[in-house]
């Protein structure tokens, strides 16, 4: 997917300028919105590919904007928040946001998140063409119909829960999944012990997945928030 259109929603002019300047210097196309209603209007009329959304908007809560947009579209939304509390990010992620960025953020970080999302978009596009029973991410291959996982064509021995976890992460590649979301999907509940178990399974899964010394990081840990499967080239 080349040259995606990005909608920047931010009420603070200097920060919006910083973002648009950064996008311009990296040859991305962009739209600007100063508040929530403008953002919803632009999202519906111009159909952007990615949205950068500030959570603290003058006219409505960022979470409401996410919910409104999610009612008709799956456009990836990257939330930008000055609130350092994890609960705000988790709330936004659970409302349907794909990723988050905390102010103050560096320009490199912004571009990195953008690249991750663009790659994910191309993955969903390419996977949509093929038979969806096979998932391929770099050297990782999941045969969903046979229930087997291969790394460099070599089968990995995963426990049932590790396999379930991997499939869930793969299905949501590029998206930050909250602890609650994952435990709800794996165990159907989210107790303290489930979250502790999740941590342990993630460590064992990653050890198997990233056993090769040159293996890329497939799963990112977001402390206090959750995990994300990354699209690897």
């Amino acid at each position: 997917m080349n040259n995606p259109v990005i909608l920047v929603v931010e009420d603070d002019t200097p920060v919006r300028n910083l973002m648009t300047t950064t996008l311009k210097t990296h040859d991305y196309k962009f739209l600007e919105a100063k508040n929530g209603s403008e953002a919803i209007m632009l999202a519906s009329s111009h159909n952007p590919d990615i949205i950068f959304l500030d959570l603290g908007l003058p006219d409505m809560e960022g979470v409401e904007v996410i919910e409104r947009i999610r009612s008709w579209s799956n456009i990836p939304i990257i939330v930008i928040s000055a609130r350092s509390e994890d609960s705000d990010k988790i709330e936004a992620l659970d409302a349907g946001a794909d990723d988050y960025l905390t102010k103050p953020f560096s320009v490199e970080e912004l571009l990195a998140r953008l690249r991750v999302t663009v790659r994910r978009l191309s993955l969903t596009h390419s996977n949509a063409d093929k038979d969806s029973a096979i998932y391929i991410n770099g050297r990782l291959k999941i045969d969903l119909s046979a229930g087997c996982v291969f790394y460099d064509e070599e089968e990995l021995k995963l426990t049932p829960i590790e396999y379930k976890l991997l499939c869930l992460m793969a299905k949501n590649t590029g998206k930050v999944l909250t602890h609650t979301y994952i435990t709800q999907n794996i165990w159907g509940r989210s107790w303290e012990n489930d979250i502790a178990s999740l941590r342990v399974y993630m460590v064992t899964l990653r050890k198997k997945l990233e056993a090769a010394p040159d293996a890329p990081r497939y799963i990112q840990t977001h402390i206090g928030i959750g995990y994300r499967m990354v699209k690897v080239d």
């Binding site: 829960i161 303290e192 840990t221 402390i223």
Partner: protein
């Protein structure tokens, strides 16, 4: 009336259904105005309130209304011992003056009780009592009537005792006549009989009946003509009169003696219970303890089920705590359906309700507020199981409630004092912080804004290397500000001297990895190594805070060691703890500095007043974070050179779901 004008005077006025009571209230109102005092109207409601005439009830409610309209707060206490209850309330509420009405000046008979006013004075000698003459209706008489009915409960047992003793006295008398003893002896035997009757029976009625019967029996059996009520000699009429009077007096005296004995026994018991309660309550350190002790004392005393609704932290009524006596039977059935509703009402109005009271009298239990100085601490529900409390029980119950609310008020005051002192400490901390922060923010801000203005106005005159220097300065300074703000945010989470932790189970190696993503950008000029043990180390922690600790420690190492130094982060398990160490091979920390390294605002060797890297916040924050996690942080020398910070955190065993 504005209660804040002067609370040093507190006037108590006694309300009665008497029509002349209005005069008493008026006098009290005037007095309250003159003294700028708070006014409380107290009504001691008899337990047989329902038997009181309607006209009296109407007058009473009018009197209460009148008092309320004139700025008095109303206290209704259930009980029959008016002086004791008034005195008790005065003591508990800290009243300084009591205003009572008095119906004329009665001559005091030797068997009558001392008047109301006198009893109040005896009970609370430290309070001034004002008596307003009150001529018309005799309130006291009514009260005494109530007392009389309270005591006379003729029982069959007492009647049998009376009859038996009279028969015995007659028998002894007949024996005496056989031996030819004089009549005087027989009269003495009968008087003795009456004395025994009044000692053995509960009611004065029997000694009176006994006296009369003795005279009649003496006449019938021993005076000629025998077996008739006639006499030949008129002098016997005098004998009978004297006999009747002396036996009546004997009976009354004995009865009074007994009453006094019972009274003093009760007083002693009451004093003991109150003393015990007081002792126990003084030891109580928490509101819950006070309530539990009170409930236990009440249960011991009254042997009835008790439910307590304490007031929770938000100031509303919490859920009830049920406490049952040892042999309670299916008491759940006795609980009122609308118990919570009544309790809420009692809490709001601070007035008693439930059975034997004016409000919610259809309820099965009695509801009393635990209140002191207009602040209600909870509601106590007493399950009476259909049996009303005796006036004595009631007065002790009220005293215990009074003690309880006093104890609760003391606790609340202590808590408020504690809060105030913590607040003061926090304020001190904050003002120190603000002072040092504003300095530390100013310095990088000066550099940023100055550099930016140079760029704005003199851009064309600058060469490439100058520009690069300015850009990197702006970047460094803003990064430094970001770092500062992060630390400040965590400081703001220290409330009441305690850190507010968002605990979750996290893996140490993940936290270390994440922390290294957020350290100073100059980290590339140093060699950082991480060695985690193979075991998965799960710790229950606030991972953001622990991350901040690691960031601060690594940033410190980066700042304080020369370029190219090694920084090593290790994690391992030692029995039940996880030990994380951050070490460097720099020049180390001098021994003179070590003891102060974790102090707030300590800035190490940097003694220059305008030093850039001031704000000795980092390590102090680390220490408070680690201590909030019940862990320890220590500083040791690294071998061969440098320093090593060792953090140990308690570990959690986890069972993993399958």
């Amino acid at each position: 009336m504005d209660k804040n004008v002067d609370t040093s005077e507190h006037i108590l006025v006694c309300i009665s259904p008497s029509p002349s009571n209005l005069k008493v209230i008026m006098a009290a109102v005037k007095m309250a105005e003159a003294f700028h005092a708070t006014l409380t109207a107290i009504y001691i409601k008899p337990t047989n309130y329902t038997n009181i005439e309607e006209s009296d009830k109407l007058r009473l409610s009018n009197n209460l209304k009148f008092a309320e309209q004139n700025g008095a707060s109303i206290a209704t206490i259930i009980g029959d011992d008016v002086p004791l209850q008034v005195a008790e309330y005065a003591r508990i509420s800290g009243a300084t003056k009591i205003v009572v009405g008095r119906s004329g000046v009665k001559r005091r008979h030797f068997w009558s009780k001392p008047p109301l006013t006198e009893q109040i004075i005896i009970n609370v000698p430290e309070v001034d009592v004002y008596i307003i003459p009150d001529a018309a209706v005799d309130l006291k008489q009514q009260n005494e009537k109530i007392h009389l009915t309270d005591h006379i409960r003729p029982t069959l047992k007492d009647a049998v005792i009376t009859v038996l003793i009279l028969i015995a006295a007659t028998g002894v008398g007949l024996t005496f006549t056989l031996f030819g003893f004089s009549e005087a002896n027989i009269i003495t035997v009968f008087i003795l009989g009456v004395l025994v009757i009044s000692v053995l029976t509960a009611s004065f009625l029997y000694s009176a009946i006994g006296s009369l019967a003795s005279v009649l029996l003496f006449n019938w059996f021993f005076i000629d003509p025998k077996f008739s009520f006639h006499t030949y000699q008129t002098e016997y009429a005098v004998t009978f009169m004297i006999m009747l009077i002396s036996s009546l007096i004997t009976g009354t005296l004995a009865n009074r003696l007994k009453m006094n004995a019972r009274q003093s026994a009760r007083e002693a018991f009451r004093a003991k219970v109150l003393f015990d309660t007081n002792q126990l309550l003084q030891k109580a350190e928490k509101t819950d303890d006070v309530i539990r002790i009170t409930a236990r004392q009440i249960i011991t005393l009254l042997d009835r089920d008790v439910v307590i609704y304490p007031v929770d932290e938000s100031g509303s009524l919490g859920s009830g705590i049920k406490l049952e006596n040892s042999h309670s039977v299916a008491s759940t059935e006795l609980t009122d359906d609308n118990e919570k509703e009544i309790a809420e009402w009692v809490f709001k109005k601070q007035q008693a309700a439930g059975v034997y009271t004016e409000n919610y009298s259809e309820a099965k239990a009695q509801y009393h507020p635990i209140s002191q100085n207009d602040h209600c601490y909870g509601v106590i529900v007493l399950h009476l199981n259909g049996i009303p409390m005796e006036s004595f029980e009631n007065s002790v119950f009220m005293s215990i409630l009074g003690e309880c609310s006093l104890a609760l008020e003391n606790l609340r005051n202590a808590e408020e004092r504690e809060k105030a002192s913590v607040l003061a400490r926090n304020e001190q901390l904050r003002s120190n912080l603000l002072r040092s922060v504003s300095h530390d923010i100013r310095t990088p801000l000066t550099s940023i804004s100055g550099n930016a203005s140079n760029l704005l106005y003199h851009y064309s005159q600058m060469n490439e290397s100058t520009l690069m220097q300015i850009f990197s300065d702006i970047y460094d300074d803003s990064e430094w500000l970001i770092d500062l703000v992060e630390n400040l945010l965590f400081i703001s989470r220290i409330e009441n001297g305690q850190m507010d932790l968002h605990l979750s189970m996290d893996i140490i190696s993940d936290v270390i990895e994440e922390a290294l993503k957020h350290v100073d950008r100059n980290v590339n000029q140093h060699i950082v190594t991480v060695s985690n043990c193979d075991e998965i180390l799960l710790v229950k922690m606030d991972s953001r805070l622990i991350m901040q600790v690691l960031i601060n420690l690594v940033n410190n190492a980066i700042k304080n060691t020369p370029v190219g130094s090694e920084i090593c982060i290790q994690s391992e398990r030692k029995e039940d703890t996880v030990v994380i160490s951050v070490s460097d091979n720099g020049s180390g920390i001098p021994d003179s500095v070590k003891p102060h390294i974790f102090e707030m605002f300590y800035t190490g060797q940097n003694k220059v007043a305008d030093g850039r890297r001031g704000l000795g916040l980092g390590l102090a924050l680390c220490k408070s974070i680690i201590e909030a996690h019940k862990g320890t942080i220590t500083l040791v020398d690294n071998q061969p050179t440098g320093c090593r910070f060792i953090i140990s955190l308690p570990m959690e065993e986890v069972t993993v779901n399958e």
